[in-house]
Symmetry: D2
Subunit: 313 residues, 4 copies
Amino acid sequence: MTADRKAGEQFGSVFPHLITQDLPNLVAIKDADFSDVDAVFCCLPHGTTQEIIKGLPQQLKIVDLSADFRLRNINEYAEWYGHAHRAPELQEEAVYGLTEVLRDEIRNARLVANPGCYPTSIQLPLVPLIKAKLIKLSNIIIDAKSGVTGAGRGAKEANLYTEIAEGIHAYGIKGHRHVPEVEQGLSEAAESKVTISFTPNLICMKRGMQSTMFVEMAPGVTVSDLYQHLKSTYEGEEFVKLLNGSNVPHTRHVVGSNYCFMNVFEDRIPGRAIIISVIDNLVKGASGQAVQNLNLMMGLPENMGLQYQPLFP
Amino acid sequence: MTADRKAGEQFGSVFPHLITQDLPNLVAIKDADFSDVDAVFCCLPHGTTQEIIKGLPQQLKIVDLSADFRLRNINEYAEWYGHAHRAPELQEEAVYGLTEVLRDEIRNARLVANPGCYPTSIQLPLVPLIKAKLIKLSNIIIDAKSGVTGAGRGAKEANLYTEIAEGIHAYGIKGHRHVPEVEQGLSEAAESKVTISFTPNLICMKRGMQSTMFVEMAPGVTVSDLYQHLKSTYEGEEFVKLLNGSNVPHTRHVVGSNYCFMNVFEDRIPGRAIIISVIDNLVKGASGQAVQNLNLMMGLPENMGLQYQPLFP
Amino acid sequence: MTADRKAGEQFGSVFPHLITQDLPNLVAIKDADFSDVDAVFCCLPHGTTQEIIKGLPQQLKIVDLSADFRLRNINEYAEWYGHAHRAPELQEEAVYGLTEVLRDEIRNARLVANPGCYPTSIQLPLVPLIKAKLIKLSNIIIDAKSGVTGAGRGAKEANLYTEIAEGIHAYGIKGHRHVPEVEQGLSEAAESKVTISFTPNLICMKRGMQSTMFVEMAPGVTVSDLYQHLKSTYEGEEFVKLLNGSNVPHTRHVVGSNYCFMNVFEDRIPGRAIIISVIDNLVKGASGQAVQNLNLMMGLPENMGLQYQPLFP
Amino acid sequence: MTADRKAGEQFGSVFPHLITQDLPNLVAIKDADFSDVDAVFCCLPHGTTQEIIKGLPQQLKIVDLSADFRLRNINEYAEWYGHAHRAPELQEEAVYGLTEVLRDEIRNARLVANPGCYPTSIQLPLVPLIKAKLIKLSNIIIDAKSGVTGAGRGAKEANLYTEIAEGIHAYGIKGHRHVPEVEQGLSEAAESKVTISFTPNLICMKRGMQSTMFVEMAPGVTVSDLYQHLKSTYEGEEFVKLLNGSNVPHTRHVVGSNYCFMNVFEDRIPGRAIIISVIDNLVKGASGQAVQNLNLMMGLPENMGLQYQPLFP
């Protein structure tokens, strides 16, 4: 386990809830001994990862949780992140790690770009519906809500308890960096360019993410068609669950687990549908999906280490 | 001050935060002496209010905070509330109390139907934009978020701390009773029938409400046109504030006050705009607007008793 | 899995976070088939358990999570619970399930009375210190703080989100029913009657419990003596952890796990010490310790099903 | 209104909840024009205030909300704050601003040291009881709980929402800087040196403070004697309220107001009593008491600007 600022510290002093575990101290990356390592999770800030992964031994399997290898188009990367991509050859090799959608590619990958939390919660329902041409590509409107862990652990005034508790606000309207990642996935599913409306909101909760997607159905398609298609798509999946009837997904029913719960609802406006999905942004939206991907890459059971249930209440 | 279940109790035992105030005990409505009363706020459950108001002395001015007199069309009332309206003649007399929009009518009213919280937060921005024909009437999509006080103080499992804290969920999709109230207001502004998409969400906060409205602009209209129209509409208003530049309204910046903050944003999809408004659902969305209305009805300064600032943090 | 009010319902409709699990529907106790059952967890309200356990087949091993069999003295039971004990012969058989303290007795028990949450968090540090005569028996002052799950899932106005969020209050001062349970444990350790000062507080959090114990040390004893004794007592224990140095236990570092973290601190007043322990009231304070106990009773590894880590943040 | 880091900014950009108010921009202290100013509130970090107040015009009345002038003994100041006091002559002039206890001195003061939040909540009940010799001076044990605003608005990892929500922890055991301030007040009341046990806790709430005080009563004294003495002491006070009967003070019933609620309870241990007081740490524990003090110093009604009620829920 490596660290930058906190290299040399005990793991339990950085994460006191793990103080009971007999874990090695954190070391700087440059001091890490990779000779006995098969695979790494790379959890570095966006932008710094490219060069570090370039420098890692070739035989390592890598799941990268940053955004560095998520955008296939390096011009788009440069546009959203403000600098040229520093490892374009690795970008070509990287496989996008939306497990249920790209399982076969992930299985054979050496480098997996683990999806962002918003993109996971949005693409899991929308990609199959778009592929099946059940919804229109125009006017896909997404109002998403995230817990504060999405912002990381950096000490910023805006994320203090006193600024966050008991309130909600939108942020990054139009400019959130998860937009190109979602549009890439939906466009590939559609085989044509998709532009979305995306409004993220910060909610006074630690974990959890809800994406509400307002869509127009293709002519003649009904909400029941959407439901049936999602049902058959995810029927055999352990971690993606379409709820029954009119049950509404609650974030608190997946927090602490790798599950994605979703459902489809009629809209009052004829021809429209409302789709809601929820995940734990830190698990299915980050570390859980990363484990799921590495399990695939290593030939292990996909659910290894992931069978814990949500913590409710 | 009257009560039903709690008649006979001290006010401070029902609301211990007001124990320092020298207030009379609660009495049953039937025991109330109206001889020295000029006006009443009626805060009874939906459905029970109609008959009680019928029985009140004619000279009283009344602001009714229930939904009983909000829908001008008693057939629509019957459809949404499951029984025929019990005071149709009073319904004809009632004036809808969206203060900034219907100030003159309210000033002369005897019975004001105080708006619901969602309808207040939605109509304040949308009514002027619709009247000015700046937005299309089709595909008005609203994703709204409310604090838990919106559900009242009834003891329900679903509203326990343990069921609500640290999470979010949608509810009443398609069927929320505030829908006909909003559609009535928007249709009147449009002079034609408007059908909205409305998805309310329950957030783990006590007070506060955010409505996010996704709209299509009329041909040739820009976000700047929407902004300028709202600016000129609310320029002289004390309680409705259009934020500057790209400032995003936060619920926590209005909680405890009668303010509505709003702003307009460009959407990534050309021709669309995103409008966000926030209020304290218990103040501008209920009691504060009720006081504002009664002030008008009594010829008092409109802001009397309402000049307290938001409580932040 | 049995239920009373909710018999006949699907498990996932009562606990939607477990909807992914293939579980049988809830049945009424009278309809349960015990022929193939080895052991039961009994999670019924205080007072109702006695008669039900009397009626269960004799060969069942039972962990009872209610308070019904915790007080060895049935007169004391009658005094605190307001009615004569209904199964005094079972009371004699019952073993108090404070695992780390009474492991051998639990191993051979048929009926275990699982401890309350406050008593667990208090007795784990105090019992060994009292047995070793390191602290005085007079003036043991305990200020304890509990999350709201301690109050169960009953729909009460006092436990609504709006009544609980963003605040703290004491309750049950002098009269909390966990008092006789704690005093029983401390008195047995002391071999003389101990009377405690106990003030519980309800905190705006779902899970978690902190007990702060203000004690006078025996003449000549130092804080370091207390620390060393707790260290040697719990050195080999998986679930009880004495923190290093001046590290302060936080409830959020044990929530979701079966751990108890504790530490000892000097007081400004010479001769006094402050002891702080934290647990998850629903795990080590209830279901986790129950599983730990049943594991012992069944000859299984004590930590089976309990090796999940705290969920932080 | 002056600022350091934020000089030049609009007030509404620092405190967006006040954006509706027509307020001047923030200026650096060195650019402030004091020619037309009668009085100032000084809200600077501890340690920096001394020199700045030395430099202010002599005719100004000053309420200082820092800790700089609270300790009469400058040696004690040096010991707790790590440097010699930089304005010892001003320290001699400063009056400690616990309004209800030192009203006459405050009325005639030029410089008032506004009390800390913990000291306010502790001294209001204990000072009169000690003066009347109703409680013993030994073994005064205080377990106090504070909302997070007590830590200010500085961007620290420890105060992030994700580190604070849904939990509690003690901090500063033995070493909190409010200890000498409390001991000074109690010692003066006792006319002899008092040493307290003081354990503060950080609670997952924004505002609010509860102090629980465990005391030994003087021989022959009863809880009823304590109650009656507090009742007669605070009977005429607007902002200090002794609750009736066994009503327990809740922080949420004073938040947003200048009130202190308190009550006295019997302990299970004979001869002991438990006293609980609650305040809003930002109001009676800071800015509210500061206004109260300045009102006195200026000859204004003491409650001017302070008559708002608690915001509940």
